[in-house]
Symmetry: C2
Subunit: 147 residues, 2 copies
DNA sequence: ATGACTGCAAATACTTTGCACATGT
DNA sequence: ACATGTGCAAAGTATTTGCAGTCAT
């Protein structure tokens, strides 16, 4: 996997905005998370990053993920106390965790439903994030599928 | 705080169903969580339990909480990677975490909205849990209020 | 007596941090 | 040269576990 010209630029611009440098490590981590559709954990991102850069360390992966979060290029997803997962999809949406296969999938959340959710709170409440997570079993999901 | 006659019986019955014993420790932990309205963490439950039973250990509190979860007398609430919180409210509802005061409050979730949420998933999906968490600032919330 | 429960201390899992070295401008 | 970033190893936090001793029936 290689960083596309386009993503490369997105990264550089976002880092620039915060006065941060584009480094090879950040490029690698961003290329991994930016193209991942399976909500990988830090460990999984570490493993995939090492394929592109065998010398990268787990601590650096965590550092880079932190930086990418600050740049708002990626997001975290948490399911109970399991390892934090990372994804490039920034639009408000829900998640489904399949107990059978262990996979996490995005669930589309229509805008009107999203706003109905925030209306559950007193009007004067400022909401900074909404997290909607489902858990259960997907039909026909393989046992322990990996993307 | 003392275990009410009524809750005592609820506990004994629920434990009985799983062939488990009612112990003083379980009674204490259940009396703490069962009457708490502030979604305490294991540490907070430990502190409150020690007021009734100074010799109780944190490990036992965790053991008891695990048992109470199995009996379906209490539930867990997780906010990102923060300490797990426990609550006696078993009805489907949402949670709001106030960044200013640190308090967690229940948010009523109307039944029709709850079912609209589960309809986001393919009909054949079996859903075992729905978690809806808000984060933000409550109006007029004190700094670091404790219930 | 037997099986279940407690509570200590150690282990675990995930994540963060301090710091010496490396790197880019 | 200077500020920033990397990566190792160590620390930290929340939770779980092994096990010897204790308790209830």
């Amino acid at each position: 996997m290689q960083v596309s010209e386009e993503n490369q630029q997105t990264l550089t611009q976002a880092l620039d905005k915060l006065g941060l440098r584009s480094t090879r490590q950040r490029e690698v981590v961003y290329s991994v998370v930016g193209t991942a559709k399976d909500h990988p954990t830090a460990d999984e991102i570490f493993a995939r990053s090492r394929q592109q850069m065998p010398t990268i360390s787990l601590a650096t992966v965590y550092n880079c993920l932190e930086t990418l979060l600050e740049c708002e290029l990626i997001r975290q997803v948490n399911f109970e106390r399991e390892s934090t997962r990372y994804e490039p999809n920034l639009k408000p949406h829900a998640h489904f965790y399949c107990d059978k296969s262990g996979q996490v999938v995005d669930v589309h959340l229509p805008e009107d439903l999203y706003s109905r959710l925030t209306e559950l709170l007193p009007a004067s409440t400022s909401v900074s994030s909404v997290e909607l997570n489902f858990r259960g079993k997907l039909p026909n999901s393989p046992e322990n599928h990996q993307n």
